[in-house]
Point group: D2
Chain length 293, copies 4
């Protein structure tokens, strides 16, 4: 099968390689001419046979919007656009509607796998009409891990990114779970070998997981994590998960607590705790005069 792939960064570049290894033809376009197979989006579209499939793998937001707008002008009825970036699910319907007016199909694909994807395959969560999704099966087969897992047609347009977003929300809370447990164990004097406790959990326990393996790797590199600051960014998908929960009146206490812990980790000094300190000072007996006295 023939594919146009737009965006050849760390993810896109490896995906091009993995799809090619599976025997497909991939033409890649990137603004960086050193990695690009063509000079422009227009050239990319021109070199592909209709009906074309264009996989967009650029940063979510403006960059993705721009590419999809341009593709809307360049493509023909019957072509299909796949957004494989980290777009917010709410963008998917807009993109699908805008392209549908021109007879162009749209599929959203949440992609997980990071740096191990080239070798182990990428987990794919896909949203869109059955017809469009079915036509893309050879590419999905090439990208996904071997075996029965790692690919799902989750539902309608938006369902792919929505599922990937929830995946990341779950990831936040799982990471927080291991992090909370680690801090508690490190704090207690009777437990002398926290790293070895974590290592031991990798077999025979309820909490064994790939994230636990990563935690053990991290502790092997730096047993008490003294080289790291307790500072954690968030990528947007945790925020969107909480926003989706609010939209749907679903309580997400653990995932939200994990997001808030990251927010707090990035503050040098907590404004809200200044207010707590201020109120405690007021109790302490300064000569305050309060309105209601």
């Amino acid at each position: 099968m023939q594919l146009g792939l737009i965006g050849l960064g760390k993810m896109g570049g490896n995906m091009r390689e993995r799809i090619r290894r599976a025997g497909h033809t991939v033409l890649g376009y990137d603004r960086n001419p050193e990695v690009s197979d063509v000079k422009s989006l227009a050239e990319l579209v021109e070199k592909l046979d209709a009906p074309r499939t264009l996989w967009v793998m650029v940063p979510a937001g403006t960059a993705t919007q721009t590419v999809i707008d341009e593709l809307g002008d360049l493509l023909e009825p019957g072509d299909t656009v796949v957004d494989g970036g980290n777009s917010r699910w709410t963008d998917d319907e807009k993109h699908a509607a805008a392209l549908a007016i021109k007879g162009i199909g749209f599929v959203d694909a949440g992609v997980s796998g990071g740096v191990w994807g080239l070798q182990n395959g990428y987990a794919l969560m896909v949203g869109g009409d059955k017809e469009n999704v079915d036509r893309l099966q050879p590419i999905f087969e090439a990208l996904k891990p071997e075996g029965p897992y790692g690919y799902v047609h989750a539902g309608r347009v938006g369902a792919g990114h929505f599922s990937k977003m929830v995946h990341n929300g779950i990831e936040y809370a799982m990471m927080q779970a291991y992090a909370e447990g680690w801090e508690l164990l490190e704090k207690v004097h009777s437990v002398e070998n926290v790293r070895e406790v974590y290592r031991s959990w990798q077999e025979g326990t309820v909490i064994r997981s790939w994230l636990l393996d990563l935690a053990v790797n991290a502790l092997d590199e730096d047993e008490h994590l003294v080289k790291l600051k307790g500072y954690a960014e968030d990528s947007g998908e945790g925020r969107w998960t909480v926003e989706a929960a609010i939209d749907n009146a679903v309580p997400l206490p653990a995932i939200t607590a994990s997001l808030f812990a990251r927010f707090a980790s990035r503050q040098d000094d907590s404004p809200q705790m200044k207010m707590i300190a201020a109120l405690r000072n007021q109790f302490g007996g300064h000569a305050v005069e309060s309105k209601t006295e």
Copy 2:
């Protein structure tokens, strides 16, 4: 009425004064001879007429335990001990049982009011048998604020301290509420007069309260709280509230969140967020080898 008062610190000293102003006889004992009316607990007991009432106002834990043990040896059947300190409610039953063996009554009293108590009165939450509590009414009347509020016979032994503990738990979450709102308002550029927003809330709103008055006082002293660090101690009663909730399988999400926010405020660097950072680094593409790969 005649009262022996043990512990003449900031709270006890003012309470002695307020009870005396109400026309009662108070003999105070403190280890500090400069404020003490007698030289020893034994002398205090000796100078009071039976049946005696001894009000203990010393730090919770060992100090209170020691005084109550000594009183158990010095007092006679028919006497009554009041624990007005910040004891954990679980201690009350033990104290009551130990004294009951000797025919000595026990009442626990949670006392709120701080530095304003001398002038405005102390809120009292009392636990114990009706007979013992009734006998103490003149003292409670002297201590409490004027008007119909500020005193309650909450229930059996322990109910006074339990109620005071829950009062403090609620206080934690209310302080946290004002603190969270303040941080959010300070963060948003369109809101230019956060202090004045808080001041305006003191009338006509749903959230007007004495704590809000204190917040406004604090902002009047230091509009953006730049002189304070976002660091907050906790006094024990917040912790006990959460422990009581766990014992009773009652979910307390807001109060517990407020307690945890204080814990976090005292950490220079968060160990658990180091682990989050470590896991994120592992994603980032270090050449890790995980067990399950």
Copy 3:
């Protein structure tokens, strides 16, 4: 001063009355002819002298949008629109920009006070340019409570609704605080008079507040709240507060916990707890075959 007031429901009707009592001229328009002073928006605008002030007091969202659009067509340069409804602050900038093109001013006003407002006054949080806000002072003076509190010019357009929104977020957490404390006290056998404990807190304590007064009123009507279901709606402003926090990376654990508690209260059966139950069943020894074994 002359004012056009659009929306004469429970809030708007009482506000018209309070402004009139202060000696101002209020022409009210409502779709319900029984309460309306004029037959149409057009008539309302026609009957007011330029520069006009139109206060919109209709439900947030579509209704407010429609009225503001119509006013944009009817009004003249130099007129001013006030949105006093519960609009989301993000709508204010859009409204201000759309009206500014036509030379019409815009002010947003968060209004608190409910059914007591007519008698006690309404707390007002106002956003907009100084010039527009200043011109409206007589109306604000008429609406607000007596005394130095209850009115603030919070900042630029949007700041009024933003402040009101945060007020409501704080309200959620304060209500949750009293609710958590009440449940814990009711659960513990030693505390026999929970209602009286709450009543006693109304004086001399740190947590005295208007909301506490309401809680006591509620307990006086129904001591153990047996007539009520543990079911709580949310009005939107709590959700917006959390969304604003996420936008600004501000952790709001107590307010968010309070919002989630309401979501959960409306579920007959919790889907997420079904999954917890399902996982526990899997542990229990069904002959499961798991992928990683």
Copy 4:
């Protein structure tokens, strides 16, 4: 090696079998004569050669306390007691101290593995002096899973149960993470195949784990979990984890949220949400008269 095993329930019985399969001699005692190898604790002790090792596998609390007290009377200096039950770590030091007076060693062992343990091995987290722990290595080797994982000497007495407790705390939050994500996906209409989304995550994703495998098993049995009630017990170790966190001033927001979600799931009607409803009713305009008005 020779071992006395006390408590032959589901766990103990399978452990006896697994240790025997490894070639060791196990004498088991249970109050149920049908499964017991001896008639009494005394007979068990008598039949073992000194220095003896007695592994206690009975319910935590009173049952464990009783057995350890009896063993204290029956055993000789140089013997060792292992507590493999789910005891609270705070009991371990007491047990160790009481036995040490008589020259008897003590080791605590947290055991994970449930019904799969017989076949796959039990994860073991062990606390105690190196000398005592080393002597027990053959038994630990027999019980643990094959390979380099599943066993750790975590630290001093108490460290085994403490580590197991934290393991369970982490488990609570991980289960909650998958549960929250599942509810959100089920709620959103665009996602049509939630079960298949979960299945797909079993390979190539960040959140793959054994618990995820169990979730998929559960969904295969009952796709929308319609046969289950959203009701979840808790076993005590989640509570202890939060209590340990409070003792050590460690914030555990995600684990605690998970515990509270279980508490709430067991309430037919939430008392705290009744109070929220009551307060909302008070707003609604009943003719209330509040203290501060």
